[in-house]
């Protein structure tokens, strides 16, 4: 019992300041990516933030951790455009409303935020598993109507101001905004390799093991996943973009 309450306490503490946490049961999952070493991905039970981390959440973090303030964070961990839409290092201002998802954050900053909450960034497999659900089904990926809806978001111009988090209905697991709001970092974004490989040189058979094999798509119709992967694989960990945020997992 004591152990149980120890486990629950940090979770409750975080739930108060964000949209809360959602438990996902996990299981065997067929990724839209084709891994050469496995057919099904085993996702163990985990918790994911219901909504993406917001500006006000991130503001609280940089207030407690001055090393992560804009202008203070080492350039090696966050490029020059880090939090550039904020009015100041500890001021949100008109371009960063409190409940909008925080964007312009590097992988290093997102990783540090989650660690500071006693959490971590989700893996790509966890993210993809959670994002396969629509409002009623845990795996809606085969439904062309749902696919079209997601693609509709990707086709939208990205200049419009970001909506605030949590406006969309929760998916079957209770998680919101996995599609239709921002791109999201994963902890293993640096494991996603598309079209970057070492196989163009030397002995192909040798390079296959230790050389970086590019992932290929097992499900070519799943453009939404393909775009996510292509985007994450094109980023360095210090990069930021105006449409890229994150949420944490435990």
């Amino acid at each position: 019992m004591a152990a149980l309450s120890l486990l629950l306490l940090p979770v409750l503490a975080i739930a108060a300041s964000t949209g809360g946490w959602v438990r996902l049961p996990g299981g065997n999952f067929r990724s839209a990516l084709k891994y050469e070493d496995r057919n099904l991905v085993r996702v163990t039970p985990f918790q994911l933030m219901e909504t993406a981390v917001t500006n006000v959440d991130f503001l609280a973090f940089v207030k407690r951790h001055p090393d992560w303030r804009r202008g203070k964070a080492p350039a090696v961990f966050a490029e020059a455009r880090y939090l550039q839409h904020w009015a100041g290092p500890t001021t949100l201002g008109p371009k960063a409303l409190p409940n909008q998802p925080v964007v312009n954050v590097s992988w290093f900053a997102a990783d540090a935020y989650c660690k500071a909450q006693g959490a971590r960034l989700p893996t790509w497999n966890e993210w993809e598993y959670a994002a396969a659900a629509d409002e009623t089904r845990t795996d809606a990926r085969k439904d062309p109507v749902w696919r079209e809806r997601i693609l509709g978001w990707y086709a939208r111009p990205s200049k419009a101001a970001l909506p605030r988090v949590g406006l969309q209905a929760a998916n079957a697991y209770g998680v919101r905004d996995l599609h239709g709001l921002v791109w999201e970092w994963t902890g293993d974004a640096g494991s996603l390799l598309v079209d970057v490989d070492n196989r163009k040189q030397g002995d192909v058979d040798k390079a296959k093991f230790c050389g970086a094999g590019a992932l290929s798509m097992g499900d070519r119709d799943n453009y939404a996943v393909l775009m996510r992967v292509a985007m994450l694989s094109s980023l360095e960990a210090g990069d930021v973009t105006a449409n890229l945020g994150f949420r944490c997992a435990i």
């Binding site: 050469e36 070493d37 496995r38 080492p74 350039a75 090696v76 961990f77 992988w107 290093f108 990783d111 902890g187 293993d188 640096g190 494991s191 996603l192 390799l193 970057v196 490989d197 070492n198 040189q201 030397g202 040798k206 390079a207 093991f209 230790c210 050389g211 970086a212 094999g213 694989s233 360095e236 960990a237 210090g238």
Partner: protein, 194 residues
């Protein structure tokens, strides 16, 4: 007499080093990978940091000891670059290989590779970071990797050239016994800079 002078010089260095370590060391540049504050273990089982390499131009890469194909090539590439340098240049260059598989690469495994490859441990260092820091180090070096079900890793291979302050000057992804001439000249230039 020679020994006495050595002792004297050593004592002097010891006396002066606290000063050099505090008041006289300028702050790290913001874009230095030595900004990472993470403890790791070297091939001798000693606790160290990446920043302990500060002051010497470095070639840095990532590898893992059970890797059969590309990783030996990474070491070959480092050795091949050294071969292009004069003895004086060589002494000023450090080579640091960081394991992406610290669960299996303890000091013993690192030392076995160092011995088998006859690496000069006055200049080469093999490091095992904590598992939670591997992704961060790879991120700083721009190296991508993924652990496979069988314990092997898919990874990009790169040699990254750092100046004495840990800033990235150049990188090469050409892993072979004949080094990329452009990269070698970048190494030479870095070693010439004082």
């Amino acid at each position: 007499m020679g020994r006495l002078i050595t002792h004297f010089a050593l004592a002097l260095a010891l006396l002066l080093s606290p000063l050099a370590g505090t008041a006289q060391t300028p702050p790290l540049p913001s874009d230095s990978i030595y900004q990472l504050d993470a403890r790791m273990t070297d091939q001798g089982g000693r606790t160290t940091t990446l920043a302990a390499r500060r002051g010497r131009v470095q070639l840095v890469s990532m590898f893992y000891t059970s890797c059969r194909y590309i990783c030996p090539l990474i070491i070959d590439s480092g050795l091949a670059i050294e071969k292009q340098l004069t003895p004086a240049e060589k002494t000023r260059l450090g080579v640091t290989l960081v394991s992406m598989d610290p669960k299996r690469d303890g000091a013993d495994a690192l030392m076995r590779v160092a011995s088998r490859r006859k690496l000069d441990l006055t200049r080469w260092t093999l490091l095992a970071p904590k598992p939670g820091d591997v992704r961060t180090i790879a991120g700083m070096l721009g190296i991508r990797y993924r652990e496979l079900a069988d314990g092997e890793f898919n990874h990009t291979s790169a040699l990254v050239l750092l100046d004495a302050q840990g800033r990235i000057l150049a990188r090469t992804e050409k892993m072979s016994g004949t080094p990329d001439p452009e990269f070698v000249s970048a190494v030479r230039k870095a070693l010439a800079a004082r």
